[in-house]
């Protein structure tokens, strides 16, 4: 691959990862914690109503996991394209 092709392919894959990860980010917080809270509140997780749990606990746990998954994916991508130092 020529240099511009390589960087463009890298950027495309990066954007694909971002789209997937940010969709999850949106679904757990704005989806489960806000828009569909009342629906999810019909179910429970231990002593929590499910929607309430997502809003005050679950979404935060998912956020942490998302960033570490991103770190792992990007390190792998950097290696694939030889951008790792």
């Amino acid at each position: 691959m020529t240099k511009p092709d390589k960087s463009e392919a890298y950027w495309r894959e990066n954007k694909k990862y971002l789209a997937i990860l940010l969709s999850i980010w949106f679904v757990v917080s704005f989806g489960c914690g806000i828009l569909f809270k009342d629906l999810l509140n019909r179910y429970s997780l231990g002593g929590f109503k499910l929607g309430f749990w997502f809003a005050q606990q679950g979404s935060i746990y998912v956020f942490v996991v998302l960033i570490f998954v991103y770190v792992w994916l990007m390190n792998r991508l950097d290696k694939k394209y030889g951008y790792n130092e």
Binding site: G47, K49, A55, Q56, Q57, F63, I67, Y70, Y83, N84
Partner: protein
């Protein structure tokens, strides 16, 4: 030992530690002063970012606010953590690769314009000053409540301490002190939370305790919901805000968090792009420890408060109730003259309680502005964290620990903000615009002098808090969301974005946000009183308006950029360069 003695000992030890670190980590160059030499490890940077981020508001006020807001309080929990996902995925790695010192640096270079740089500097200064005023006030309050010194003296002590480690060490001193401050504040937050969780639910982990059963076999949250219903409050796990408003506030807080200059600048301090990503993850992990514990503390404190005071004789109440009443943070007016506390939904007083000198029939402090509603009890939200250990009858060293933790939270955030202010002045204004050929030594001196001035101004704000401080904290986030966040994200992800688009977007977003805030939070435009909620545009509260202003910014930026010429070739090359992670080490030297 008494609580006060314990407090002096713990505060003394932690302050000595901060001083020691400040002397050890003196800065010798502007690079050390601005970005700690760019060689901070991801873990240390993660801890420093977490301490920088978690302010007096996170430590003292947040759990209290959630305690009274129930589900509505989720906006802070999701907003102030979800922003890190945006920061880690959309900003931090690219800004690190760009490799300069400040946010205005990026805006100025990417949009090849000193106008853009100046707009960014002004936004950075407004955001940071708004924020730092609250911190100095927080320091004063902790001192006055735990150590019985005047608020003014407390603020001056706080100023002196920040001055030492910020003035000597710059970013380097601040970073390593913040690492220590993170340890102090997280320990101080977790210990009482764990104690109370064990007491109430038998579970050592507060996050699980919150969803566990209490002694009588019901779930804690179910019990709290029932207590709320009995007293006429909305159920704790349901909210009173509209779904759209919760959505808007959460998004504004997230984008604002990712756009706050004192948070972004932390990612300039790590050695390379890979470390910037990892560091953002570690920062959020360390922040999440407090942010997932806080809602548990809120539930424990709320249940404890209701059970301790509701329908009890005033004369039989524990000591802490009277102590906080003497400080003016609790007020009770015996409206039906039965000697018992009626705590139900509604405002007990009109505004903050105004105490008269007299005492009532049960020995309570009389208030002049009791309302006509049935509720008899006023409780200041801030005391929920501060008084929680006392309410739960924990040992005195735990109570003292809360004071040391509150101070660590306030001082670490204040230091980070003061550095942004001084950098904006010495680097973005003096070095980049007014006096480009200033020597390294001269710039370092200018940085130190501007930090000195910034501390004095911040201290004055803390001693004489302007009435608008409380109203403008939301403004800091709204402004960051409406100005920086779109300009930076578009600067990275939209190669076609040019200076005309970005500058008009930032100006319109900022002005719109300021206008809405002033119109609905103060009475300065049009009418004398702040306008009521029924006048809100699309039912959006001023706290959530940042989302709206941000969208307008994006639409205007994109439209105008497409109608004006594309950015020059060398700027497009900058964009291509920051998208590729390798080579960040060299980029630092410019």
């Amino acid at each position: 030992m008494s609580v006060q003695l314990w407090t002096w000992i713990l505060v003394g030890i932690t302050f000595a530690l901060y001083f020691g670190i400040a002397i050890w980590a003196r800065a010798g160059s502007t690079k050390e002063f601005y970005v700690a030499g760019g060689g901070v490890s991801p873990l240390a940077n993660g801890m420093a970012t977490a301490a920088d981020w978690m302010s007096a508001a996170s430590f003292i006020s947040m759990a209290g606010i959630i305690s009274f807001a129930g589900y509505d309080g989720s906006v802070y929990l999701m907003g102030w953590t979800g922003g890190y996902v945006l920061l880690a995925l959309l900003l931090a790695p690219y800004l690190r690769k760009f490799g300069k010192f400040t946010v205005p640096d990026f805006i100025g270079d990417r949009y090849y314009s000193n106008t853009a740089r100046t707009v960014a500097v002004i936004c950075a200064l407004i955001v940071s000053f708004t924020y730092v005023a609250g911190q100095m006030r927080g320091v004063g309050i902790v001192f006055s409540q735990f150590l019985q010194v005047e608020i003014t003296t407390g603020v001056i002590i706080g100023m002196a301490v920040v001055l030492v480690f910020a003035f000597l060490g710059g970013m380097k001193g601040i970073t390593y002190t913040q690492v220590a401050q993170y340890c102090v504040l997280i320990f101080a937050f977790m210990v009482p939370a764990i104690f109370i969780s064990i007491q109430m639910t038998g579970n050592i982990i507060p996050q699980i305790g919150m969803g566990s059963r209490v002694e009588d076999g019901t779930f804690l949250l179910e019990k709290l919901d029932n207590l709320h219903t009995q007293l006429g409050f909305k159920e704790y796990t349901e909210g009173t805000k509209s779904t759209w408003d919760v959505f808007a506030i959460t998004l504004a807080l997230m984008a604002g968090t990712a756009g706050l200059p004192h948070v972004i600048v932390r990612f300039f301090t790590v050695p390379n792009v890979k470390d910037a990503r990892k560091s953002a993850g570690l920062a959020l992990l360390l922040i999440a420890i407090l942010y997932t514990t806080a809602p548990a503390v809120s539930v424990f404190a709320r249940t404890n408060l209701i059970e301790t005071v509701s329908d009890q004789e005033y004369t039989s109440l524990p000591e802490w109730f009277k102590n906080w009443e003497n400080m003016g943070l609790i007020a009770w007016s015996d409206k039906n003259e039965d000697g018992k506390i009626q705590y139900v939904n509604g405002d007990a007083t009109t505004g903050k309680p105004e105490f008269t000198e007299a005492r009532g029939a049960s020995g309570e402090r009389l208030i002049a502005n009791a309302s006509t509603e049935t509720n008899e009890l006023y409780v200041d939200r801030d005391i929920m964290v501060l008084a929680n250990p006392e309410i739960a009858q924990l040992p005195s060293w735990v109570i003292a620990l809360v004071a040391a933790g509150g101070l660590a939270a306030a001082l670490s955030t204040a230091a980070g903000l003061l550095l942004v202010i001084s950098t904006s002045v010495s680097h973005d204004l003096i070095k980049k615009q007014l006096k480009p050929n200033i020597s390294e030594k001269g710039e370092l001196l200018a940085a130190r002098l501007s930090i000195l001035v910034a501390i004095i101004v911040a201290g004055l704000f803390g001693i004489y808090p302007p009435g608008f401080v409380a109203a403008v904290v939301a403004l800091a986030f709204g402004l960051a969301a409406a100005s920086f966040f779109p300009a930076i994200v578009l600067g990275i992800f939209d190669k076609r974005m040019n200076k005309q688009g970005a500058i008009s977007g930032m100006i319109v977003g900022t002005v719109l946000m300021l206008f809405y805030m002033i119109r609905f939070k103060t009475g300065l435009i049009g009418v004398l009183e702040p306008l009521p909620a029924s006048e809100w545009w699309f039912g959006t509260s001023p706290e959530g308006f940042g989302t709206f202003a941000m969208l307008i910014n994006v639409v205007i930026s994109i439209t105008i950029s497409r109608l004006t010429p594309a950015p020059p070739k060398d700027v497009q090359e900058i964009v291509e360069r920051i998208r590729i992670p390798s080579g960040a080490g060299e980029a630092q030297h410019h």
